[in-house]
Amino acid sequence: MGLTKLQKATLILYEDEREKFLKELQDLEMFHITDSRSSPLVDEYPDLIPDKKLTDKEGEEIFNKIGRVVEIFKPHSNNKGILGQFIDLKTGISPERYKTIVKNFDPDEIMEICKWDDRLYHLHNQLTEFEEKKEFYEEWKKMKTPIVKLEEVKNVIVKIYKIKGKLEDLEEALKDIPVDYSIVFKNTAKIGIVFFIYKGFEKEFNEIISEYGAESVDFRDRERSPKEIFSECRSKMKEIESEISGISKKLLKKSSEFEKYLVLYDYFLSRIKRTEVLNKTLMTKNVFFIEGWIVENSKDVLEKLVSSYRGVDLTWVKPRKDERPPVKLENNKLSEPYEVLTGLYAYPKPNEVDPTPYISLFFAFFFAFCLTDAVYGIALIAISFFLLPKLPEGRKYLWIFIAGGIMTIFAGSLTGGWLGNNLEVAFPAFSGIVKFRNKLMLFDPFKNPLNFLKLSLGFGVLQIGAGLIIAMKERIRKGNYLDAIANEISWFLFFIFVGIGYTKGIKIFIYLGFLPILTILLFSWRSNSWIKQIAKGGFRLFRGLIGFLGDILSYSRIMALGLVTAGLAMSVNILVMIVRDLFPVIGPILAVLVFILGHTFSLAINTLSGFVHTMRLQFAEFFSYFYEGGGEKFEPFGLENRYTRIET
C-alpha cells in the first residue's frame, strides 16, 4: 500500500528510429516522460532547445478533418443513453478491429464527407435566401409584368407601396393629382398597390403618401415579373431540398460507421502526441534526449524494447537532488477504488503518505449513516452491479457505491430504516416488518436524535483521532520526533488527562492536562527566536482547540443527512397511504406509482448528498491533519482514448 517505486531513466533517441520506437513505447504505456525543458539541465545546455516547436503537420491536418467528421455524425449517433449524459462513455473496441480500421483508413473518404458537409452548409444558406425571396414575392405574385416594362410608359413614374390605412381615404387625398393605381393584393393588415404618377406630380404624391404611413417597396429584380421570380424560387427550393435530402441520406449511411471515425480520431490524436511529446525533451538536429520514469518492476520490459533498436540508448539514472518524481498510487483491491477520490483532491507528494487506504476505512461507514436505509443499500448494490459491465469508466465509483451499499444495509438495520421507519403505513400487508425491524434496531433516529448525534460526533472523534495518529506516524517516519511529541502526542495526552479528570472526577489529571498544553505552546513550532516560537506555538494551540471543536461538529452532517433520508422515506410512505385511501379503485395503483417514484427520487437525491458530504468530510476535516497533496500523477506516455477504449 502507498506509492509505487519508480526508476528514472534517460533515453537517447536518434532521428532514424524515432517514429518506430516512439510508437512502440506508446503502445507499452509504461514510460512517464518528464519535461526536461523546465529542469536545471536547460541552463547547462541552452542550445538543446530548438527555436521552433515540432509539429506533425500532416497528422494534424487529417486529425482536424476527422474531428470535423466526428462532430458531423455526433447528432446522428448519440446512442449513449441516460448514463452517457452523466459519464463520458467510451466505445469499447477489440484490438483486431482497431488495427483493421487503421489499416483501411482512406483519407479521400474523410475529404469527401467534409465536402458533403461544406455543400450542405452552402445549400442551407441558399435555401434560406430563396425562402426569404419567395416570402417577399409571394404577396406580389399576381404581377405578371416586369417593373421595367411598366416604366416604359411615357410621362409616367411607377411606384409600389404597401399601405396600412383605408384605401378610400387615400383615394380622397389623391383625387386632385393625376395618379392611377392597381391593387395587387389585399389582406387584413396591408394593401399592395402599384401607382402610376404623371411626371411633375411626384412631390405632391410623396407628401400625401407619407402621411398615410405607406411603406415603399423596392423590387431588386426589375427585369422579371414577381410571378416569374416567385415560380423560380419555388422550383429552385425544390432542387435544393432534393440535393440536401440526397446528401443527408449519404451522410446518414456513413453515420453507421461512426465507430470507425472515433477510432481514427483517437489514432491520429495518438500520432500527434508522438511528435508533441518531443517538445518536452532536449534535442539536437538528429538526437533526442528523453528523461522519464518507469515502475521499477517494469524496467526489464523497457530494456528489452531498447535492445531491439540500434539507434536508442537507455541509461538508468539517479534523480537530481531537487527533482520530484511523479506519483503512482498502489493499493490493495479493497482500497483501490478510493484512489479516484484521492485524485480528485490532489495526488500526494513523493515523500508524503497516500491517504487512500485511510479513506477506504471510513468512507463507506460515513456514507452509510448518511443514507441509513437498508433497502436503499440493497438497491444501490443491485444498481451498481448492473452498471459494472456497462460502465468500465466508472468502475471505481461503482465499487465505492457497492461498499457503501453494504454498509448502508448495516446502518439501516441499526436505525430501523427499511424503506423508512413506517413501511407498514403505506402497505399494511408489511406489518410483519415491524417486529423484524425492532429486533435489529439500535435506536430510532426520530425518537432518539441525540443518540444519532452522539454517534455522528463519535465518528468525527474517531476520524480526527486517526488523522492525528497518521500525522504523528509521518513525523516519526521522517525523524521529527520532537515535532511529534510537541504536537500530536501532546494533544492526545491533553485529551486523555482532561477526559479522565472530568469523567472520573480526579483533579490531578485535570492539572496534568496543562503539561501537554505547555509543551504545545513552547515546542510545537520551532524557530531561532523564543518570542516567535512561543507566539506561533500559542497560535497553534488556539487554532488546535477551536479547530478540533469545529471539525468534530462538522460530522453532525452525518446525522442531518441520515435524518433527511429517513424523513423523506417516511414522507413517501405517508403520501402513499393518503393516495391509496383517496380514490377507491385507482388509488392503490397510483399508490404503487407514488411509492416507486418517491423512493427512487429519495434514493437518488440522498445518495448524491451522502456521497458529496462524505467526500467533504475526508477533504476538509480529515486531510487537514496530515495531508497536503500536490504531487504529479504518473501518466505513462500512451495511446489517446478520447472516444474509444481498446478491450483486452
Partner: protein, 156 residues
Amino acid sequence: MNGFWIAMAGVGVAALLTGIGSSIGVGIPARAAAGVLSEQPERFGRTFILVVLPSTQGFYGFIAAMFMMMKLGMFSGSVNFDMEVLEGIRYLMAALPVAILGLVSAIHQSLVCTSGVELAAKQPEATMRVVIFAVMVETYAILGFVTSFLMINAIG
C-alpha cells in the same frame, strides 16, 4: 391567541423559507446550465449535479416541518388544539435556524454552483472540485437543521 396556530406558523416557516431558498437556488445555476447546454448538450450530467445541489435545503426544511407535525400529533390524530401560546412560540423559534440558514445558504450555494456550471463547460474534469466548494456553503444549513431538530426534540 392559540398556541397551536403559532406552532403551525413554525411548521410553515420551516418549509416555506427553505423551499423559497432552494427554488431560487436551483433556478440560478439552472439558467446558466441551460446556456451551456445550448452549445454543449453533452455537459448535461455534470451541470445537473451542480443544479440540484441547492435543492437540499428545501428538504431540510421539509423534514424539520414534518418532525414538528409529528410532535404536534398530526399523524397520530392526537393534536392539542388548546396548546399554550408559549409552547406554540417554542415551535416557531425552533423552526427559525433551519428556515433562515436554509434560505440564505441555498442562494449563496447557487452562486458557487453557477460558477461551477461555467467551469464545467470549460473544464468538465474539474466539476467535482466545485461541488466540494458548494458543499462547504451547505454546512451552515446543516448546522441550522441540526439545531432546529434538537430544539424541536427538546419541546415537551
